[in-house]
């Protein structure tokens, strides 16, 4: 062996990278969990990509720092600093000194970025639209904390199971906010976490003793024991790992089945397969285009009715607009609203309006998978099997039972054909505030309707002086072939930005299909102050037999409903004649002249409308545009507190365990340190178990104290697996030998021989066990979870100075045959 090669070996030893496998597994676990956040935004790459990069950075940095042999807290601090600098570069590179050094301005920028992100998180419901990039920094910051915590726990401090806490917190984020995590993401994250746990355990096992490798492998004693790498241990035990992980992961992924549908409308379930010939409707407007155009024209609902024209079978009403999409508002569905025959009277409908009852027998085909029950509007009675519940205001019917859908469902309904006259609509009084409150709200900042939209609405409705006149003006404007062209070759979307493109003349402008027409008209009606919402349903069936009609996938349609007092919600049809040839009767023809005197009560009783949109601040009230899901950020804030609480709970125990391990190491080393460690441990045990210990007393006095404690009878026997209680005499002799070793360590100039120190530590363990055996369960539990020795010092035992007599007698009785003086 040449000197050069020796040097080479040494160099290789010095730069050898430690904990690569664990670091990579930790990064993988973090990344996969964070990938589960992809449901929080339409375009999740804005935060997943930086976070994956950050996880890699933290992992690689950690490996390098740990391999340099830096102390653990330093490693963690440097990782935090590195991650913070990376985020700083990401958010405030322009204002930083020299392009990287933080200064007051750049830190202010970072704070602003986060502030905007928090604001955005309050403003937008998940999934946040792709163009709202100000939202991403919040998730990046939260994700960075998760990544750092997981790496610190699992790799730096080798406590892989504790890394489960930040991972769990990260996991609960999508669960609490959106439908949850995709099963494949969950599978990957869970596998990475379990492998991380296995890596830590195998790491410990590999260092516990000399590994015997290979079957029938002989191992030579003179070889220095080589410690296998974690990767090698994982590879070697892959068989056993697969046996444990495979059933665990399979059962876990299937685990979501054990929970019955409890609450929430959109709870769980992945999107239905769009490639199959099934039509699945969850958020109706989002699924509309896909079902309308892309799918095959399968038959969905068959209707038997005496209604001569059963058009406009409504599935759902979307009464909430958040700037991004129309969606059903949060429904409050108590069990009392199960459909069971009668349904409540349609909102705002007067007896004076002409109405005809029709009975419907409906049967949905097996290909129709909807959480919503298609019904004529307004329905006054319905009866279906299963837990279907109606909403009082919109009269649409949905289910909270996740397993329930419309496939193969047969049900009955009674619907009204309402035929108001144009006059009735024209003379409608002001709608009640209960209706306007929720149905004219628009998600514009400071209630400022964008100028282009306000001008457009003013332009179209110029000269119209009633709500109905304005509605008619809007409908005519949309249906005018000179203005709009019907085409399904358009990307779905009904957000404000989509509408702007749709409403503005241009290459892509003024082209769309029912989704755009309906939502644009609803928005513009709201701008004009008319309560409006979007309905989704079927347009016109094909007649198969007399009295039997068939709705198919391509009949899916969307239309606006506007509210008029005295008539209720009234259907309009802005979609051009290509798709919807006819308009409702009351909107056709000339508008009758408004005669003020015919209904003086109506106009007199109606107060002067103050329909400025500033009446309600939708953002400040925080409920209007995000109420389909609870995205209040306060709901998330307790999640990171979970690990904190767990730390508080486990902290003392972990600290005490660490102390014991350190002492055990000292004890194994023997000598002076071993003897002192043994004594310290005895002191701590006595204190932990709730007994008194006097730090000021002499060793011999403390020894007597120990002997008195040992004089008690053991309480029961401890759990199996530990050796039976030591013979009492041996334990007492042990006390003697520990005390001697300590005396020698403290008072003798020569050091305690190593073997004696080791012996003292071993004896101390026997005594410790004996002390535990002599304690009540409660004391043991306290000693385990809330060790007193970490908090209190030793105080003189109570009553020692005064009542020396009796106690000393007892002591002497105990001592007689144990201590040779």
């Amino acid at each position: 062996m040449s000197a050069a090669r020796q040097r080479a070996t040494r160099v290789r030893e010095r730069v050898v990278l430690r904990g690569v496998t664990a670091a990579l597994l930790a990064a993988a676990a973090s990344c996969f969990t964070i990938l589960g956040w992809s449901g929080l935004a339409v375009d999740p790459s804005g935060y997943t990509r930086p976070l994956v990069m950050l996880a890699l950075l933290v992992a690689v940095g950690g490996v390098v720092l740990r391999s340099l042999g830096l102390p653990r807290p330093v490693v963690v601090l440097l990782q935090v600093a590195g991650a913070a600098e990376a985020l700083h570069l990401l958010w405030a590179r322009d204002s930083a000194t020299g392009g990287w050094l933080p200064n007051a301005t750049s830190l202010g920028d970072v704070a602003d970025t986060l502030d905007r992100a928090v604001t955005a998180s309050r403003q937008w419901a998940a999934p946040v639209p792709a163009d709202v990039t100000s939202f991403d920094p919040l998730l990046i910051a939260v994700g960075a904390v998760v990544v750092l915590l997981v790496d610190a726990y699992a790799v730096t401090y080798r406590r892989a199971s504790l890394a489960g806490l930040p991972l769990l917190a990260a996991f609960t984020l999508p669960v609490a906010v959106t439908a949850g995590m995709r099963w494949d993401h969950f599978l990957l994250a869970a596998a990475a976490f379990l492998l991380l746990v296995a890596a830590e355990h195998l790491h410990t096992v590999g260092r516990w003793g000399r590994p015997l490798t290979g079957i029938s492998g002989k191992e030579r004693a003179d070889e220095p024991p080589s410690v296998p790498t974690t990767a090698a241990m994982l590879t070697r035990n892959r068989g056993a790992l697969v046996r444990v992980l495979a059933p665990t992961l399979l059962l876990a992924v299937a685990g979501s089945l054990v929970v019955p549908e409890g609450s929430g409308i959109f709870g769980g379930g992945g999107p239905g397969g769009s490639g199959s010939a099934e039509v699945s409707i969850e958020n109706p407007i989002i699924d509309l285009k896909r079902d309308l155009v892309q799918g095959p024209d399968v038959n969905l609902v068959e209707v038997r009715t005496d209604d001569p024209d059963p058009s406009y079978l409504r599935i759902s009403a979307l009464d909430s607009f958040d700037g991004n999409t129309w969606r059903p508002s949060r429904r409050d569905l108590p069990p009392s609203q199960r459909i069971d025959g009668e349904m409540p009277d349609p909102l705002g409908l007067n007896e004076s309006v002409q109405q005809v009852r029709h009975r419907y027998e409906l049967s949905a085909s097996s290909a129709f998978d909807s959480d919503w029950l298609p019904l004529p509007f307004p329905a006054v009675a319905a009866d279906a099997e299963g837990d279907w519940r109606y909403d009082r205001e919109t009269l649409d019917v949905t289910t909270i039972d996740e397993d329930l859908d419309t496939a193969d469902l047969e049900y009955n309904a009674t619907g009204l054909r309402v035929s108001p006259t144009a006059r009735q609509l024209l003379e409608a009084p002001e709608p009640p505030s209960a209706v306007t409150e929720d149905n004219v709200a628009l998600p514009f900042e400071d209630d400022e309707v964008p100028e282009w939209l306000a001008f457009l609405v003013d332009d179209i409705t110029a000269g119209a002086d009633t709500d109905f006149a304005r509605a008619i003006a809007l409908q005519r404007w949309f249906r005018d072939p000179a203005n709009f062209r019907y085409s399904t070759d358009r990307a779905p979307g009904n957000g404000i930005d989509d509408l702007r493109v749709f409403l503005t003349p241009g290459p892509d402008g003024r082209v769309g299909y029912c989704e755009q027409f309906a939502s644009a008209m609803a928005v513009m009606a709201r701008v004009a102050g008319v309560p409006a919402r979007v309905a989704v349903g079927f347009l016109r069936p094909d007649a198969v037999l007399p009295g039997r009609w068939l709705f198919s996938a391509h009949d899916l349609h969307s239309w606006p409903e506007l509210y008029f007092a005295g008539v209720g919600w009234v259907r309009f049809e802005p979609t051009p004649a290509d798709q919807a040839p006819s308009v409702p009767g009351y909107t056709a023809g000339q508008l009758p002249e408004l005669e003020d005197e015919t209904d003086p009560a109506a106009s007199a009783s109606a107060p002067t409308p103050t329909r400025s949109l500033g009446a309600e601040d939708p953002i400040a009230s925080g409920s209007t545009e995000v109420d389909t899901e609870d995205t209040s950020p306060w709901r998330w804030l307790w999640l990171p507190a979970l690990p904190l609480a767990a730390l508080l709970l486990l902290g003392p125990r972990v600290l005490r365990g660490r102390q014991l391990r350190l002492r055990s190491a000292a004890g194994a080393a023997g000598g002076d340190r071993g003897a002192e460690a043994a004594w310290d441990e005895l002191r701590a045990t006595v204190l932990d178990l709730g007994h008194a210990w006097d730090d000021q007393a002499t060793l011999r006095h403390q020894q007597r104290r120990l002997l008195v404690l040992l004089h008690r009878a053991p309480v029961g026997s401890r759990t199996s697996g530990t050796p039976s209680p030591e013979p009492v005499d041996r334990v007492r002799a042990g006390v003697d030998s520990v005390v001697r070793a300590v005396e020698r360590a403290r008072f003798s100039p020569a050091p305690v021989p190593e073997a004696q120190g080791r012996e003292a530590w071993a004896r101390a363990q026997d005594i410790r066990r004996a002390l535990w055996d002599r304690s009540e369960t409660r004391q043991r539990r306290l000693a385990t979870w809330w060790p007193r020795s970490l908090r209190v010092g030793g105080a003189p035992e109570p009553g020692r100075t005064g009542a020396a007599g009796a106690a000393d007698d007892q002591v002497r009785a105990v001592l007689e045959d144990n201590v040779r003086v």
Binding site: L168, W208, G209, R210, L212, S216, A240, S256, T719, F747
Partner: protein, 427 residues
């Protein structure tokens, strides 16, 4: 079920309880994704426990200690052969040999991929620092799973024995019986003569005259053999070790008693090599004594039992030296006493010892030198009436005695002993 639960480690229990909590919250909140976490946390320890339960193995272990008897500081190799006729389910075996603390760190072995039928060999080495009789083993086995969720403890029952004999030093030859033959080798009476046919042979030992080598036998056996010219009957020597606790000071390996045992071993081996039949006696009554005369024959076999008895010699709580052996057995021969602290109450016993033999030699340990290192422990105050009887007293009473302090070397003291003449008390 109970055993299943009790086999869970802290981690396993933490996982299981976290899993139950997560499942409960999932039911309460209706979050099916949380249920996945709950099932994951609950199933991982359960599957591990079930697999470990299925891990039925028949483990066999044989242990070979080489050599069985060893001197202090000499290496010992222990070979273990582990065989398993197990099931296909793998666990990780953590084996720990149970060793007395005095033998140092317990050897530990890890056997992973322990599936099916296999056989493995392992060895570990010891270098014991303390004399004594040690039990090696039994081997404790911990079976664990790769996730560290469960653990079960088992133990083999077999164990091995190891005798660590005290350290012995080579001593210079001195005139033992007080007579100088002038040959430099004061062996027991020389062979009385006779024809060559009567000559028996024995193996060569250090110090034998080269002229006595029996070349023919040497050629036949392949080992150096010498003519045996000693008498067929042997001179007898008794080595007495004072093993009373009160006579010694210090603790453990650094005590004066350990030194006394080492001296006794050196002296006994020296005497054996000088052709004496040696027996060992202590201060304890006859029952505890090593009373046999160790046969003077082949060195290795004859010294072994003696060293083994010295290896396990313990301090006794006896207050007086028991001298019944001195009165009971045949008189004559040589007594070498290794003495600790002697008080006035011992004078009678020492006188009796002196009278039991023709020649009495004493190595007197200056015990105070050991006591200094542990002033508080086991250092009885010496009262005025119990003045120790030192070497001068022994010499005055017909012993040939040499004092030995803490740092003195034995060969020096032995040489001094050879030079001392006892006072002619007894004629």
């Amino acid at each position: 079920m109970r055993t299943l639960l009790s086999s869970l480690t802290g981690r396993g229990r933490a996982f299981a309880s976290a899993g139950v909590t997560a499942l409960a919250s999932a039911f309460v909140l209706g979050l099916d994704d949380l249920a996945r976490v709950g099932v994951l946390l609950l199933v991982a320890p359960a599957v591990s426990a079930l697999l470990l339960r299925r891990f039925r193995h028949r483990l066999g272990l044989s242990r070979r200690v080489e050599p069985v008897t060893v001197g202090v500081g000499q290496p010992v190799t222990v070979r273990l052969r582990l065989s398993c006729e197990g099931s296909a389910v793998g666990g990780i075996l953590l084996l720990e040999e149970q060793l007395p603390y005095a033998l140092g760190v317990r050897p530990r072995f890890v056997v992973d991929r322990a599936m099916g039928r296999w056989k493995r060999e392992m060895t570990y080495r010891l270098r014991p620092d303390l004399r004594g009789h040690y039990t090696l083993g039994p081997m404790a086995v911990r079976v664990t799973d790769p996730l560290g969720m469960v653990e079960s403890f088992r133990s083999f029952t077999s164990s091995g024995d190891l005798v660590v004999t005290p350290k012995a030093e080579d001593l210079p030859p001195i005139a033992l019986a007080g007579t100088w033959t002038g040959s430099g080798d004061n062996r027991p009476r020389a062979f009385a003569g006779g024809s060559a046919e009567d000559v028996t042979i024995r193996e060569y030992r250090r110090g034998d005259d080269l002229r006595r080598v029996h070349w023919r036998s040497s050629a036949r056996t392949g080992e150096l053999m010498v003519r045996r010219e000693e008498q067929p009957w042997q001179s007898r020597a008794t080595v007495f070790v004072d093993n009373r606790r009160r006579a010694h000071a210090g603790e453990g390996p650094a005590s004066s008693f350990e030194r006394a045992v080492s001296l006794a071993a050196s002296v006994a081996l020296h005497l054996i090599s000088r052709g004496y039949r040696v027996r060992l006696t202590t201060a304890e009554p006859a029952g505890a004594l090593v009373q046999q005369w160790h046969e003077h024959g082949v060195t290795a076999t004859e010294s072994a039992p003696l060293l083994e008895s010295l290896a396990v010699l313990q301090l006794s709580d006896q207050l007086r030296i028991d001298t019944t052996w001195a009165t009971r057995v045949q008189q004559g021969g040589l007594v070498v006493a290794v003495l600790g602290r002697c008080t006035a109450s011992d004078s009678a016993a020492l006188r009796q010892l002196r009278h039991s033999a023709d020649h009495t030699l004493a190595l007197k340990l200056d015990v105070a030198g050991w006591a200094r290192h542990a002033p508080t422990a086991a250092a009885p105050r010496v009262r005025a009436s119990e003045e120790p009887l030192g070497a001068p007293w022994l010499v005055a009473h017909g012993w040939r005695a040499a004092a030995l302090a803490h740092d003195d070397s034995l060969p020096e003291a032995w040489r001094t002993l050879g030079a001392t003449r006892a006072a002619a008390v007894r004629t």
